[in-house]
Amino acid sequence: MSKTIEITVLPNGQTKVETKGFVGSECRQASQFIEKALGQQTDEVLKAEFHQSASRQQPVQEGG
C-alpha cells in the first residue's frame, strides 16, 4: 500500500492531517513536519492501524 499524507484545509483555515498506509507510530514521524509547520495541534485521533506492529497484526483496542 502506498504511503500518503492527506491534508484537508477547511474553509476557515483549520487543517486536518491524516496518514494512510503507515504501520504503527511511523505515521507520526512521517507527518510531523507538516503538522509543526502549520500550527498548533488541537486534537489527535489514533486509528486501529496505529496499534499494529510492523510484523504481525494484533487485536485492536479502542481509544488508544
Partner: protein, 122 residues
C-alpha cells in the same frame, strides 16, 4: 491509515504568506508597522478585499492582528479565505522541501484536499 490530527493554523512563514496572496490575487504583503483603528501592529501586512485595515501577521508568534469592527470593517470570510490559502501553500512548500509530490483537489464543501505521496510513489 494511522492517525488524524487537527491543527489550528498559525501564520509563521513569509514565503507562504506571499504565495497565499498570489493565489488569492491580493496585493503583495508588506513588512512594517501598520496603524489599525486604535493601535498599531508590526509584521507582514496583508490587504484583504474591502477591509478597511490590513491584517498583520507576526511570524514570530503566529498571531494575526486586525480590527474589522466585528465584521463591519471587513468580512470574516475574507480572513478565513486567506487562512485557507496560507495553509494550502504552506503545506505544499513543506511537502516539496521533503521531495514529496502533492496533488491539490477542491472539495464540494469548500475545503481543499492535498494528497502528499511519501516514498517515491508519485
Amino acid at each position: 491509515m494511522s492517525h488524524i490530527v487537527s491543527i489550528q493554523t498559525e501564520v509563521r512563514d513569509p514565503v507562504a504568506i506571499r504565495s497565499a496572496c498570489d493565489r488569492l490575487k491580493l496585493p503583495e504583503p508588506v513588512f512594517g508597522q501598520v496603524k489599525l483603528f486604535s493601535n498599531s501592529a508590526t509584521g507582514w501586512a496583508v490587504q484583504l478585499p474591502e477591509w478597511r485595515y490590513p491584517v498583520v501577521a507576526d511570524v514570530n508568534t503566529g498571531k494575526l492582528a486586525y480590527d474589522n469592527y466585528n465584521g463591519r470593517w471587513g468580512e470574516q470570510k475574507q480572513l478565513d479565505r486567506f487562512l485557507q490559502g496560507y495553509a494550502v501553500e504552506k503545506a505544499k512548500i513543506e511537502a516539496r522541501k521533503k521531495g514529496h509530490s502533492v496533488i491539490e483537489q477542491p472539495l464540494e464543501d469548500g475545503s481543499i484536499k492535498l494528497t502528499v505521496s511519501v516514498g517515491g510513489a508519485a
